[in-house]
Symmetry: C2
Subunit: 254 residues, 2 copies
């Protein structure tokens, strides 16, 4: 779609579905839980979740609530997590569904879950101790990620747990804003020299991740998009600055 | 909870569960849908919905997506809608679950649904016409509203459809901000004269709706909350100003 590149563009790694899923799970607190009500109707409710190191979601639910009662009858459930602050068309934003079955936790596993959950919901130190509350782990069987229009993929539990959340995700929104507000010429250089569009007249950053950045590009041949790979994978939010400075220098021929 | 009122407080109507539900449904675009997957697992997914005049949710779903396929087998479903911009503790914010069964629309009902949906998702004028997309109405059987910690209620389809969304909801966030930033003395007067706490030392507005406003109040006897009824029910966002000005005058003894 859009104007084709006129010069070669270095291939750029993108996040896998498992990485996208882990990134969404790592950023959020609220999710939608689907359970099965007594009459068989699937029941959507709002929950606060925490995630263990391997991405396993932790829930703390009361049997005074319908979802809590539902899980005592039918442990199969799924959890849908969206972007915390989607910009623009909400259907073009990321979300993931993790499906599996919940397991009520006891002993050391329950203690670890309590600790993780308390970081997400400080008040759970109080209510989590009430007799009607149970700590659950969602044992993930399958994962469906949707990144937006036409961007979607499935993955399995093994790949999900083995993947790493993008450690730069927390810095992406600021980086995009900063690049677009203060570095229009650098972005245009990148689109022209590295992005395959030497005739570009305008370029803005639409997304950035640990592997590279996406540009929206205007050319006399029409609108298009391109992706620019970082020289090195970024490992923390602060690395995005160095990675984009390196691109800007390369685009200037330095 | 908190310090008890020392002087009488006029009773104030609050929104019913049906009004809360209609208000949440009226404000949002994105919701979580629960359907039942082929293996029986409840499946949570993100959807964009529109609402008809009577609050009936409209969906436009593709059979290329799991939720779309699920509904062709099992029409029972539920939709969870939360506050668009919850402030503070997300567990203390409003959400509602509408449970029932979806009905694929045809003829005039489909045309009406398309029109409503297009207002929520302009792009649906394009994708909604593709052969894999179906317009559905969720025929609501029961409604569960949760307003936050300890605030929850159920209602039935008849009450839900008969209720009106709070027409002032779109002005609430601005009104709260404006009152707290620029009218601290007025709020304190209200807490002292109308809210039952003549010894109040500080008051801030935590919520406002067509029937009145909630105040957080500091007193030498401790923290408390109170609710102040408007003289008249507000019928549009702009009415919140007049209603609070009237309260401020009354609190000053004018």
């Amino acid at each position: 779609m859009g104007a084709q590149p006129l010069t070669p563009v270095a291939p750029s790694q993108t996040r896998t579905a498992a990485e996208e899923a882990r990134t969404l799970v790592a950023q959020g607190k609220m999710a939608a839980l689907a359970t099965t009500s007594e009459d068989g109707t699937p029941w959507a409710s709002a929950v606060l979740y925490a995630a263990l190191e391997d991405g396993t979601p932790i829930l703390c639910l009361s049997t005074l609530a319908e979802h809590g009662r539902n899980l005592t009858r039918e442990p199969r459930a799924s959890l849908m997590i969206g972007e915390a602050e989607p910009a623009g068309d909400p259907l073009d934003s990321g979300r993931v569904t993790l499906a599996g079955r919940v397991e009520a936790l006891t002993g050391e596993a329950e203690e670890a879950a309590k600790e993780a959950y308390k970081a997400a919901s400080p008040a759970s130190g109080l209510y989590g101790g009430f007799g009607d509350f149970t700590y659950y782990a969602l044992r993930v069987d399958r994962v469906r990620w949707v990144g937006g229009y036409g961007r979607m993929d499935s993955t399995d539990a093994e790949s999900y747990h083995a993947a790493e959340a993008d450690p730069t995700a927390g810095g992406a929104a600021y980086a995009i804003k900063h690049l677009n507000e203060d570095h229009a010429q650098n972005l245009l250089d990148m689109a022209r020299v590295l992005g395959g569009h030497p005739d570009a007249t305008e370029a803005t950053c639409s997304a950035i991740d640990r592997y590279g950045m996406n540009l929206n590009v205007q050319t006399p041949r029409g609108f298009t998009t391109t992706r620019i790979a970082f020289a090195e994978t970024a490992d923390k939010p602060g690395d995005l600055r160095g990675a984009t400075v390196e691109l800007a220098r390369r685009a200037r021929g330095e």
